[in-house]
């Protein structure tokens, strides 16, 4: 651990060092075969812990969507708030109890 006197932070980006994933009790899990890649979850995630990634190699709900980006949850930062689970229009996100 490294601290400074008086909590003075001279380099930007220190919040990213705080891995809020440890706060989770429930964990969102995306079922890609039901995901229509609308990115509503990505839009609503307050952290943000949902990242856009190329979707070619993921299961797909409709072959027309294969070239679109998919949402991927970064569990280092996902606090398990469940907003994405609630907002998903196709119910493609499961909310399962965290097992640590």
């Amino acid at each position: 651990m490294k601290i400074t006197r008086g909590v003075v932070i001279t380099e930007p980006g220190s919040t990213a060092l705080e891995e809020t994933g440890s706060w989770r009790t429930f964990k969102p899990v995306i079922k890609y075969e039901k995901c229509i890649r609308c990115m509503i979850c990505w839009n609503y995630c307050p952290e943000p812990a949902i990242e856009k990634q190329p979707g070619e190699n993921y299961p797909v709900a409709n072959p027309k969507l294969v070239k679109m980006e998919i949402p991927v949850i970064n569990y280092r930062y996902c606090k398990g708030c469940g907003i994405c689970v609630n907002e998903c229009p196709t119910k493609a996100i499961d909310f399962v109890r965290e097992e640590k």
Partner: protein, 399 residues
């Protein structure tokens, strides 16, 4: 060096002048109002170059002081009683951010009942805020200890804010001859106001007062604890250097006629002069009594106090404050200082002078007599001096 007739508040204002304090945010409150008055007068006369910030409350005064100190400016303010109480949450922010602000306090009782007179409750109530605490016996000490406070607070081994307490009216509004040192000597003592810690600087943006999770918070608090422990040595060095440059000697704990004393009185602040007079009178009668004066309350000089009191039979601690539900603060901490020490004197607590009630030589003689009684029989550990117990009996019933 210039000898001037100064009130305590003015002495601390001159301390700000000779220390070349750069920013003074202040809000007036009795009995500290003369400090902002005198400082703004010195600035408008062109005798002092500083930014005076009139604010809308004490909370804002200390908040502005934090902003100023965070830029690296030498910063001072003053307050008392309810004003200090209003600063309460900001005190912890200043010490947590490790900003070497110096604040002069006119020690005054807290409401209710409303009372503007001398009592040390206001600063004692802030003893856990992470600030160093000095207490002056007279106006010369008020000026000197303000300079010493800057030297210790700004030391790289410390970087903690400091309060300098002086009793309301007895010091704040009483004129005494005060030696105001030359600015050049003070500059030699303090060094120029310079940035000794990371500061707000547009060319190097930084985050101040950041949010900290449980994973890190304790380390910052421990860091303050360690710095306060380090300050004990730094204070001794600052006293020594002060004596070398200005010729006046200070100690955290100093004794008067204490060498062979069976009974020791402990005192802090302006009433120490009265205590000294009482000790002289008792010595003339052949009583083996001495006096210990406390000039620093935070860090609490427990090693020195134990060393100087350990051979006495009885120690009578005089507190001008009371923690309702236990005892006076100096008593409490002296007793705690003797924890794990086998041989200890009998320690008694005497509460007096609250809300500006006069402290007379006779009161100290009364304290001595009551302490002496304890040699032969058990006496109450905590006793109130010069208080009408019958009046309280009427409303509260028996204790």
């Amino acid at each position: 060096m210039v000898m001037m007739m100064l009130k305590g508040n003015e002495a601390t204002a001159y301390a700000a002048k000779v220390a070349k304090v750069q920013v003074i945010p202040a809000y007036p409150i009795t009995p500290s109002t003369l400090f902002p008055e005198k400082v703004s007068e010195l600035i408008s006369n062109g005798e002092m170059k500083a930014e005076f910030i009139p604010v809308e409350s004490e909370h804002s005064a200390l908040s502005a002081a934090i902003g100023a100190a965070a830029t690296g400016a030498r910063t001072m303010t003053a307050t008392a009683s309810q004003g200090l109480a209003l600063m309460h949450e900001v005190l912890f922010i200043a010490s947590g951010m490790r900003l070497p602000i110096v604040m002069a306090i006119g020690n005054r009782a807290l409401s209710a009942p409303v009372n503007i007179w001398a009592e040390q409750q206001d600063t004692i109530a802030q003893r856990d805020s992470g600030w160093l605490q000095f207490y002056a016996e007279n106006n010369q000490e008020a000026l000197d200890l303000s300079l010493i406070a800057f030297r210790v607070a700004e030391d790289k081994r410390v970087l903690l804010p400091a309060m300098m307490g002086m009793d309301a009216f007895v010091l704040t509004h009483t004129m005494e001859p005060v030696d105001v040192p030359d600015e050049s000597l003070v500059e030699k003592y303090l060094g120029p106001p310079e940035q000794k810690y990371p500061t707000l600087n547009p060319s190097q943006p930084s985050t101040f007062g950041a949010f900290v999770f449980p994973e890190h918070y304790m380390e910052f608090r421990y860091s303050q604890f360690v710095a306060m422990e380090h300050s004990k040595k730094v204070i001794d060095e600052a006293f020594e250097e002060f004596k070398n440059i200005f010729g006046r000697e200070y100690r955290k704990v100093s004794g008067f006629m204490n060498e062979d004393a069976d009974i020791l009185l402990i005192s802090m602040g302006s009433m120490t002069g009265t205590a000294r007079e009482a000790i002289r009178k008792l010595r003339e009668k052949g009583e083996k009594v001495g006096l210990i004066k406390l000039s620093v309350f935070r860090p609490f000089p427990k090693e020195e106090l134990v060393e100087i009191t350990k051979n006495a039979r009885i120690v009578a601690v005089v507190d001008r404050n009371i923690s309702i539900g236990f005892a006076g603060a100096i008593f409490t901490e002296l007793v705690a200082s003797y924890n794990n020490i086998e041989k200890k004197p009998k320690i008694l607590n005497f509460i007096l002078g609250l809300g500006g009630r006069d402290i007379r030589v006779e009161d100290y003689i009364e304290i001595y007599n009551r302490a002496k009684e304890a040699e032969n029989r058990g006496v109450k550990e905590i006793q109130w001096i010069n208080v009408d117990e019958d009046a309280v009996y009427e409303v509260e019933g028996p204790l």
